[in-house]
């Protein structure tokens, strides 16, 4: 098969469409209100959907709908971009470092990295993938060899030139990177070769139809000067002095205080009118961990923009005058999981019974997301091409009687797995990081479950690192974990294939295929569908496979959902461009999912 990315005006369709969820993620906690929740109305002013990308191969002629479209409560700026000006952005955390291959990154850190580094591929507004620093890519018939052409005349901040050899040298660094080594393995990448000045050939050990998704994000999709990974000293220095090809160059970095980035005068990209990017002269990132003072900083003019992944902050920002809000709610959703290796969660009647008793609307309210977050029933938001009405219909709605009946059935079962006598209540432990809104949400579940008279509920809370560690469980050499019912966040705008593979693999497989399977639920038939979905780039076919998987999962209920996670980038009036940035071909980009802004095309609207 030969696949080429669309170019401006020609528009060819890239296969691997988009979006969606992956598991994992960051569990609750610092990054957000984990289980956050849903909402009522979110004004969805979609940016004009671009023409669907095409692939030369595939029957995927229909443009996939998108979950990735920004949700904005702000009116579009009255006039277009103006050159110049500065922005200062309050982030919810500091980046541990600015090395895509090495540093653990989440939303705040990606805001910074995206300013320094370009990605080989980026996502369009509809979530499909398009060329960014690369110019095109094609794959052989079984998706094991991918040939990519780079954009010419691109230089790094240090003046060195981007060539195919750069990508090869990056691969050497990737193989030992804390972040990249795992992705190389999971993407099946085994060799990178320069087959021309600007032509790179990736060889995979097996079929991976959505390999482009790996090239569209850190750790292996962001392009850095390989010299920054050359030796230990260079790697250490690169944490604070990264070298990329991106729109901004790091001017100074005072960790935990501010990172000042200035315009890259040699940036390769121009907007549709031929104006060289970026528009802003500089952008400064300030980590401001406290949600309240971050908003106060914006309201008082200490910073000119801020991000938040918390529903309560979105609510407060909406009540603050003089701000533009760029909200987004895609596939990211709060929820949790049962550790199915532990009784009584090893019985589907208990799992489904508890979730049937739960009340998502009340949970959303407790999380401060009323009127902000949308209810969720699966790993994909309703705009995703992988969204399934059938799964939505099958997901339990709040019904105390039906939920109690399921738990009662377990309690009356002489062979009940927890070893207690028939008729005795079950005991469950629910755990979230100790965030006030998460505690409130846990209390909603506690009240409902205990109201049945069938369940004793213990609530616990650990800091985020411990919380995640309990679910990952790798410290003991296994990936089973020590958790019970555990808050978690699910879904993202990335292609779901890779995440679902390890997220639902066999947790007992010694190869570690199920390392990300935090609930430890494994169903051979369901997993077969997930594997099959990585062998094709046909969206409809993949959607059907994910639906089959999802219907089995809803019956087993190893994981559950408590409402979508809305995010926001709030700016001082006049600072816009976050939802209207363009790809090199002039089509609209994905916007600002997870409050990750592309500051290269942010601008101060002219007076």
């Amino acid at each position: 098969m030969n696949m080429t990315l669309r170019k401006r005006g020609t528009g060819m369709r890239l296969t691997a469409v988009l979006l969606a969820a992956v598991m994992v993620a960051t569990a609750c906690g610092s990054d957000s209100d984990d289980t956050s929740p849903s909402a009522t109305t979110v004004a969805t002013e979609t940016t004009a959907a671009p023409e669907a990308p095409e692939t030369t191969t595939a029957p995927t002629t229909e443009a996939p709908a998108t979950t990735a479209t920004p949700t904005t409560t702000t009116e579009a700026p009255p006039v277009g971009p103006a050159q110049g000006g500065d922005a200062s952005v309050g982030l919810e955390a500091e980046a541990p470092g600015l090395r895509p291959w090495e540093d653990t990154c989440s939303s705040p850190c990606y805001n910074m990295m995206a300013a320094v580094f370009d990605k080989l591929f980026e996502q369009y507004a509809d979530g499909s993938y398009g060329a960014f620093l690369a110019e095109s890519i094609s794959a052989n018939d079984d998706f094991t060899v991918w040939t990519m052409n780079l954009r010419p005349d691109v230089v790094f901040h240090d003046g060195s030139e981007l060539t195919a050899q750069t990508i090869v040298d990056m691969f050497v660094v990737h193989q030992t990177g804390a972040q990249s080594a795992g992705v190389i393995a999971s993407s099946k990448l085994i060799n990178v070769e320069a087959t021309g000045d600007l032509e790179v050939t990736y060889t995979l050990s097996g079929t991976n139809a959505i390999f482009v998704a790996n090239l569209s994000r850190a750790p292996i999709g962001m392009v850095f000067a390989p010299s920054t990974g050359a030796d230990e000293d260079a790697v250490t220095a690169a944490a604070n002095a990264p070298i990329g090809t991106g729109p901004f160059m790091v001017d100074s970095r005072d960790v935990d205080n501010k990172t000042v980035m200035v315009r890259n005068p040699n940036y390769w990209m121009s907007d549709s009118f031929g104006t060289q990017l970026p528009y802003l002269d500089s952008v400064t990132f300030h980590p401001i961990p406290d949600e309240g003072t971050r908003l106060s900083s914006l309201a008082s003019g200490t910073v000119t923009a801020m991000q938040s992944l918390r529903q309560a902050s979105i609510r407060d920002a909406r009540d603050t005058e003089g701000l533009w809000l760029f909200e987004h709610q895609g596939n990211n959703t709060g929820g949790g999981m049962f550790n199915v290796t532990v009784a009584p969660y090893d019985d589907a009647r208990v799992r489904k019974g508890l979730i049937t008793m739960s009340n998502q609307a009340a949970t959303i309210e407790a999380l401060g997301g009323e009127g902000i977050s949308l209810p969720t029933t699966q790993l994909f938001a309703s705009e995703s091409p992988f969204y399934s009405e059938a799964i939505a219909a099958a997901y339990p709605t709040h019904d105390m009687a039906a939920g109690s009946a399921l738990v009662q059935e377990y309690i009356d079962d002489p062979d009940r797995s927890d070893g207690l006598a028939v008729g005795e209540k079950i005991s469950v432990t629910l755990s979230c990081p100790p965030d006030p809104t998460l505690i409130a949400a846990m209390q909603v579940s506690q009240v409902l479950w205990e109201a049945s008279g069938l369940v004793d509920v213990e609530l616990t809370g650990f800091d985020q690192a411990t919380h995640i560690g309990m679910a990952v469980g790798a410290a003991d050499g296994t990936f089973i974990g020590t958790h019970d019912i555990h808050c978690w966040r699910w879904g993202s705008e990335d292609d779901p294939a890779a995440g679902m593979l390890s997220g639902f693999g066999d947790p007992f497989d010694p190869s570690g295929a199920g390392a990300l399977n935090f609930s430890n639920w494994y169903d051979e038939e369901a997993y077969g569908y997930v594997v099959e979905a990585t062998l094709t780039d046909d969206v409809a076919e993949r959607a059907a496979l994910y639906e089959k998987f999802g219907l089995i999962m809803v019956e087993a209920m190893p994981i559950y959902f408590s409402g979508g996670t809305a995010t926001v980038i709030a700016t001082a009036e006049g600072l816009g461009g976050l939802d209207s940035w363009e790809m090199p071909d002039g089509e609209a980009g994905i916007g600002h999912p997870s409050a990750e802004g592309r500051w290269s095309q942010a601008y101060w609207a002219a007076e």
């Binding site: 250490t236 604070n240 309240g292 900083s297 390890s502």
Partner: protein, 314 residues
């Protein structure tokens, strides 16, 4: 005398470093979880390599001995998370936390000494009662609440001062002054209450001394007597408390540094705990202990300078 103090200082630091090391190792969670993303943790070879690199496979006592051996040469190791040298991080952040603590103490002394003196001078009168009541109120307000209030008034409403952030002295003197005022005031208020009470209490005793009566009998002005003759002998307890507080402030600015997004030692310590960055926790904790013990030794020396009676005893 000095040698004995030094021995005590070293012993204290050794105990603190060992206890900290033990405690950090007892924290739940594996540093590898913070360092390596879950999807990479199934790469056992890679994980093992990292464990070796950070010495996580060695027995705890071996790790402690290795750390101690390096620490005496000034090498406190590297952050597991950022791979930056711990000592470098401490030196980079110390001026910020030290400045914050010193300005906070300066603010609090500036307010507390006159208030405490006035309170003692007007003992039992309405002024004294009002000052005591105000001190009681300020003691009961958590400093982060005061911080939020100050941000609301001076940043949001009046827009005189920045709500968050830090400008280094080397960058801009005026910017630095602006950025230190609100956090320092937030820290200072509770200290004002304590210092005021300490000054008042000692001053009341001093004012009953014979030499004060004699000064009054000579017709010296009250203000002269209070600040020239009574304040110095009334400040011994104050010096002790301030000395104890300097150490406590350096390690205890966690909340205020987080609230105001100040890149000091306290915030770094908090982040390190959440990230299971064990070498960073160890390094900062031991450093704060060293500062604390050293300052208290200095306080003892200042005692001797302030009070000739102590100097004579020594």
């Amino acid at each position: 005398m000095l040698a004995a103090r030094l021995v005590r200082l070293v012993a204290t630091i050794l105990v603190v470093s060992f206890v900290t090391f033990m405690m950090v190792n007892l924290l739940p969670g594996d540093p590898i979880n913070a360092l390596v993303p879950p999807e990479a943790q199934n790469n056992q070879e890679f994980v093992e390599q990292l464990r070796e690199e950070f010495g996580l496979n060695d027995p705890m006592m071996v790790r402690y001995a290795n750390w101690l051996g390096d620490a005496v040469t000034g090498d406190l190791g590297k952050s597991v998370i950022t791979s930056q040298p711990v000592a470098g991080e401490i030196w980079r952040r110390l001026p910020i936390t030290a400045e914050l603590a010193l300005v906070a103490i300066g603010f609090s002394l500036f307010i507390a000494i006159p208030l405490g003196t006035l309170s003692a001078y007007k003992q039992g009168k309405r002024v004294d009662q009002s000052i005591s009541a105000a001190a009681q109120v300020s003691l009961s307000i958590p400093n982060f609440v005061l911080g939020l209030l100050l941000i609301y008034v001076f940043a949001m409403r009046l827009q005189w001062l920045p709500a968050t952030g830090w400008t280094r002295l080397t960058e801009s003197v005026s910017g630095n002054i602006k950025s230190v005022i609100l956090p320092a005031l937030s820290l200072a208020l509770a200290e004002v209450a304590v210092y005021t009470r300490v000054v008042r209490s000692d001053m009341i005793s001093t004012l009953q001394e014979d030499y004060i009566l004699s000064a009054r009998a000579k017709g010296l002005k009250d203000r002269f007597i209070l600040f020239r003759h009574a304040l110095r002998p009334s400040s011994l307890t104050l010096i002790t408390v301030v000395g104890l507080n300097v150490g406590a402030l350096i390690g205890g600015t966690v909340v205020i540094e987080t609230l105001f997004a100040i890149p000091g030692l306290g915030k770094r310590l908090l982040d390190a705990v959440f990230q299971r960055d064990f070498l960073m926790i160890q390094g900062i904790t031991v450093f704060v202990a060293v500062v604390y013990v050293t300052i208290n030794t200095l306080v003892d020396i200042i005692y001797m300078l302030v009070d000739p009676r102590i100097r004579k005893k020594v």
